[in-house]
Amino acid sequence: MSRFLTLAEAVESTVRDGDSVAMEGFTHLIPFAAGHEVIRQRRRRLTLIRMTPDLIYDQLIGMGCADKLVFSWVGNPGVGSLHRFRDAYENGWPVPITIEEHSHAAMANAYEAGAAGLPFAVFRGYLGVDLPKVNRNIRHVTCPFTGEQLAAVPAIRPDVTVIHALRADRAGNVLIEGIVGVQKEAVLAAKRSIVTVEEIVEDFGARSPNTVILPSWTVGAIACVPGGAHPSFAQGYYKRDNAYYKAWDAISRDRDSFLAWMKTNVLDKGPEAFAVHASRMGAGKFTQSAQNVDAAE
């Protein structure tokens, strides 16, 4: 059964040094607030897993939280490089980091295999390309029926998955809509999980019967953090802060400007700072729900 906690309590009780941690959300609903809490609590030696590491992992890596990155596309979308990742990988600053690199198809399939309780994922992929030469976790199996050679990668089974969702209800069920990415698979594949949400409602009310719902018994800790996906976005709440993504390029290029930014915006702040950003990006849609209730009980 899920438990309602503050974000600090959720991270404190769920994420340990040395854990493999997947913070998922495919462009949409990236759990920035939870990532910042992991930075504030100074977790170390994490294996960070994410299809698109995005700015959140650039920040965690730059603050020395991780010694391994598992990914399939490591850039600032539409902008350029992740400079903190590159500094760690190329120069070992602030700590050296190793990589395990896949394609999107491989990682998506590997999360699904994790959710399905299978040891590995099988798919048609990596044909003619070099990644299998540099990643020994990319192997091949032969179809027992047709003889076709297919790609195989180990299932992803994170110690902890962290996601941001739109809403939780009082019973601790979690709702996601819009670009749903691999969040459901990542939570079901994990041993433990943290879900931050925009709001907690008494009841989900009218919805499509096909809305993505994670029932409370599949979820670990829930923390209400309005705006917790900023500068990513939350469907129906606030838009992606593309200006932030562009600004990050200059902030993150230089170690000192990065550290100064992290001190001001992460170390000296708490999760409540996210609501301000989100309402700025929200175009009046932010926290409309009349049923909005206080999470911290």
């Binding site: 495919f26 462009t27 949409h28 299809m51 698109t52 990914f71 399939s72 596309w73 490591v74 850039g75 979308p77 539409g78 902008v79 490089s81 590159r86 990988y89 190329e90 690199e101 394609s103 999107h104 198809a105 998506a108 399939n109 999360y111 699904e112 798919f123 048609r124 992929g125 990596y126 044909l127 003619g128 390309v129 070099d130 990644l131 540099v134 076709e148 819009g178 670009i179 749903v180 990415g181 691999v182 459901k184 698979e185 993505v212 976005f233 469907q235 838009k239 992606r240 593309n242 200006a243 993504y245 562009k246």
Partner: protein, 252 residues
Amino acid sequence: MADASTEMMTIAAARALRNTDICFVGIGMPSAACNLARLTHAPDITLIYESGTIATKPDVLPLSIGDGELCDTALTTVPVVEMFRYWLQGGRFTVGFLGGAQIDRFANLNTTVVGPYAKPKTRLPGGGGAPEISSACGEIFIIMRQAPRSFVDKLDFVTSFGHGEGGDQRARMGIKTKGPTKLVTDLAIFEPDPMTKEMSVTSIHPGVTREQIEANTGWPVRYAANVAATPTPTDQELTVLRELHARTESRL
């Protein structure tokens, strides 16, 4: 505003798309070309981004493959696992539209590293969806600006497979799709030679010389038997493209 050669490239790439195409759209220049096609000669084209957004009709160009605009204007949005398993691997795309950092004469692409993999000179973002897009889509269109350091004799890393070492290598590997059939640059259009599969110039953009193409290509350039002149952009193409960029800028 984009310069004239970038506009020409985007417009030439858009023209390659058909109204009936089901297109897997890469971010950046491919996305601009695909949406220009949709807003001009191919209003019924189906554009799909790897975020799971199917038949999306964005009013502005997204910065990422998962901007809210794509989801808001999509026919439906499916999970990413489903996108790669049922839709891409399932063979439901007629064309995939890619960009790259490095390309060779057989249209193999590198978006992973410059230099050795373990100790790169430049670490690039990596493959994302491209390794499987390049083998699962019916054919591949590529849009890339030409320069000696990007049009190289030998790739540092094969991120996605084009025609390999040429000839019938795709078929011998059991890949049933056509691979790269069009490479649109800021100078010309390349298509694979029917036998060798080497990318050969089939059309030269207005005002561009063969010398310019050769100076910006890291291998000896081959030309098709009949090289066409790329038609100059029409007023409509230029207007729609400029309006699309202006709308995109105004939303930032």
